[in-house]
Symmetry: C2
Subunit: 440 residues, 2 copies
């Protein structure tokens, strides 16, 4: 047996699944590297929630509140213990609380059976894509620029999403309609359209009510599902437009839910609302949620009951009103957004702004805005920005699966202080001015 | 726009991904249904851990212990808070503790960078399969009968695993060798072999040390990776054989780790040890763990920091010795296994046993054993067993991806009391006797 090769196994990356070479990952790694290399820079890159309102002791109180709730509901000591320690139901053990909360906060009225509790919104998205993208011709359309998690999840399944590019004013249904026609002409079958209708990541745009209705009509007419991802609504100030799911009269919307921004990211608890009816050949019926649950059993088995307990305790604390838990947070983010817009106005007054070719949108909420600049906002520009001006941002081109956004950047306002914002925008203005001069 | 179709969306199951029609899911659903329909039956079906040693207050202590550990390591209050509330690193924030524990308990010596913390062992398995099964010709071999989670995860990726059937004495390397040849003759490229070497689920068999060495040599010679899943070792009484990973001198083993049986299922924390070197075309190197982490970022983003904190607190409580935390549990399961074997002996004495054609293996640990019976142990037989005799078991045929095990059943001993076991085996004996008479 000594003749056996004892060299360590070496794998060639080209032999691994293509998803490990997803360009999105390289760009994200690059961004992290820059952030580490320039720790003194003000960074408008990460979209992570502000953490100043988190309180460690609260976690313990939330978990206890949920356990007390079980006791009040008649659970024995053994049942309470198992609700925390054992495997739970694959579809989730807090589905009723989630459904109640959606009714309170979002006017979304679904039975608990239509809810699947997932390991964050990302798993909800992944499960939904796996269920719907079954054949080589099945296609996924995405509003673009788009969240990298959706392209990444699709590529894990060997699917390259088709971009439907936003206009300067945001998503337009007519563009999707045209894309559907083009897809069919290529022999593809559009199955789903992914969109963040409110304060989108990355652009910050919000879909109008008229476009929402038009999109729902289009989905019914052209027979596809809408995958609605809307994590920033309840942490945004003021009244929000109705979700697509609240307007959905014919079950065209799978609503992908996240508690990462509204409760806390560390729970890794999200959900899918999938009330679509699935029929099999002999007339048997189930909900799409049941089918997602089956897939989930092969990906993560179930979502941590410990995490679900913490989330449930929070929902119980506010009688399901997640919005109520977030009044302070929404005000904080609203102030940050107003501050960044004001600083941009001050740093780029008219007519200099137009002469320079700089412009930005003015989101009413969310974490992000888009800034158009008169030069290529690429990785090389990012390095100069960090090195020479001490300010970091995200190239918008990262968010276009099929190219685009070369002269735009994404600014995130979610966790910066007012002082950081003032200093960061001043630095950004100096960077932009020098780049514009350089480009001339 | 009133002309639009307003009928609710109805999806045809045949148009969803084939994984939702995985026969494994139907059989598991059937088993659950039977369990619910006959609540008075003694059930040898579920493989869930015994919960009598769980204590709710412990959870809080474990989380606090981890947070204290961070403070002792110099973390600020903000860092401690964020370790619980924020997104954490995709590869996991307790990788060092996991690596330390593996060194203490299992003589597995890897750097923390080779560890990926996952949402249970199932996600570790899924990520590894996604990374390795890249091309249509790439194939996965599984020791059979096998855990349904591996066939299910492979089918999500469109891969049908190839069975390598265990002999009565367990896995034989020669059978795998023959299967590899057959795979290559079919134009397929074997990439990995999945096996539970210790107290296997479902059969209860354990691979000898000689077969372990032979398997490692075969993997090196034939250039495939071994996926080692071994969740029952540290909850089994007595000395365990070395893991494949501890014997692995040339990085042929990806070790898939679970804390579901050793700590608690509700954490949903597992891990992969993937220290294989991956080289890209321009000579760049990474570890397979890095590639799994990339894939994870598109499936679940990261594993709940709250769950990781609870697990870390438990590891810290025992200085990494998971085995030490499980002395009582291992004794409990050991007693249960001894009891079931003794009761079987009493209920089926020789020479009646041989005349009847009943036999079973005698696992030294784990949750499961195999019982061969002289009739088809199918769903219809299971219904008769539950209905007429008040005893439930799992048809072994559920665990053969390509057919087999028709006259065997799996008995699980993990959570039954001694009294349940005595009563259950008596009922089972009556059932088997009546079925044998019926079959004649």
């Amino acid at each position: 047996m000594a003749l056996v090769d004892v060299a360590p196994a070496t794998l060639r990356r080209a032999e691994l699944h293509a998803s490990v070479a997803d360009p999105v990952l390289d760009t994200m790694n690059f961004l992290n590297e820059i952030t580490h290399r320039y720790p003194q820079a003000v960074s408008f890159a990460p979209g992570r929630p502000y953490d100043g309102f988190f309180d460690v002791e609260e976690i313990f109180r939330h978990i206890r509140r949920y356990l007390d709730h079980l006791v009040e509901g008649g659970a024995t000591a053994g049942e309470v213990r198992d609700a925390l320690f054992q495997y739970g139901p694959t579809g989730g053990q807090i589905r009723e609380l989630v459904a109640d909360s959606l009714r309170e906060d979002e006017n979304i009225d679904v039975r608990p059976e239509a809810v699947v509790v997932t390991v964050g919104c990302q798993e909800a998205l992944f499960l939904t894509l796996r269920a719907l993208l079954a054949r080589p011709e099945d296609s996924l359309l995405v509003s673009s620029p788009c969240y990298v998690g959706v392209t990444g999840a699709a590529r894990l399944l060997g699917v390259e999403p088709t971009s439907v590019e936003e206009s300067r004013d945001g998503f337009r249904c007519a563009d999707l309609d045209a894309a559907l026609v083009a897809e069919r002409q290529r022999g593809r079958r559009p199955r789903a359209f992914y969109v963040v209708p409110d304060h989108s990541n990355p652009s910050g745009s919000t879909m109008s009510v008229e476009e929402r209705h038009a999109l729902l009509d289009l989905a019914a007419r052209e027979d596809f599902l809408i995958l609605e991802d809307s994590p920033y609504r309840l942490v945004s100030p003021g009244r929000q437009l109705p979700t697509l799911k609240a307007l959905d009269r014919n079950r065209r919307v799978v609503h992908l839910g996240s508690y990462a921004k509204t409760l806390f990211p560390g729970a890794r608890v999200g959900f899918a609302i999938a009330d679509q009816v699935v029929v099999d050949e002999d007339g048997g019926q189930s909900l799409l949620a049941d089918e997602l649950t089956k897939i989930k059993s092969m990906v993560t088995v179930n979502t941590s009951p410990l995490s679900q307990a913490a989330v449930a305790g929070m929902l119980l604390a506010a009688d399901g009103r997640v919005s109520q838990l977030n009044t302070r947070t929404a005000a904080y983010y609203g102030d940050a957004m107003r501050a960044i817009l004001q600083r941009l106005d001050e740093c780029f007054p008219e007519p200099e702004r137009s002469a320079l070719g700089v412009r930005w949108n003015e989101p009413a909420g969310g974490f992000f805005l888009t800034l158009d600049v008169p030069f290529a906002a690429d990785n090389a520009a990012l390095v100069r920005s960090a090195e020479n001006n001490g300010v970091i941002w995200t190239p918008m081109s990262y968010f276009y699966p099929q190219g685009g956004g070369e002269r735009s950047l994404r600014l995130s306002v979610s966790y910066l202080t007012q002082a950081d914002i003032a200093e960061g925008i001043a630095r950004l203005a100096r960077f932009i001015t020098s780049e514009a001069a350089r480009a001339r």
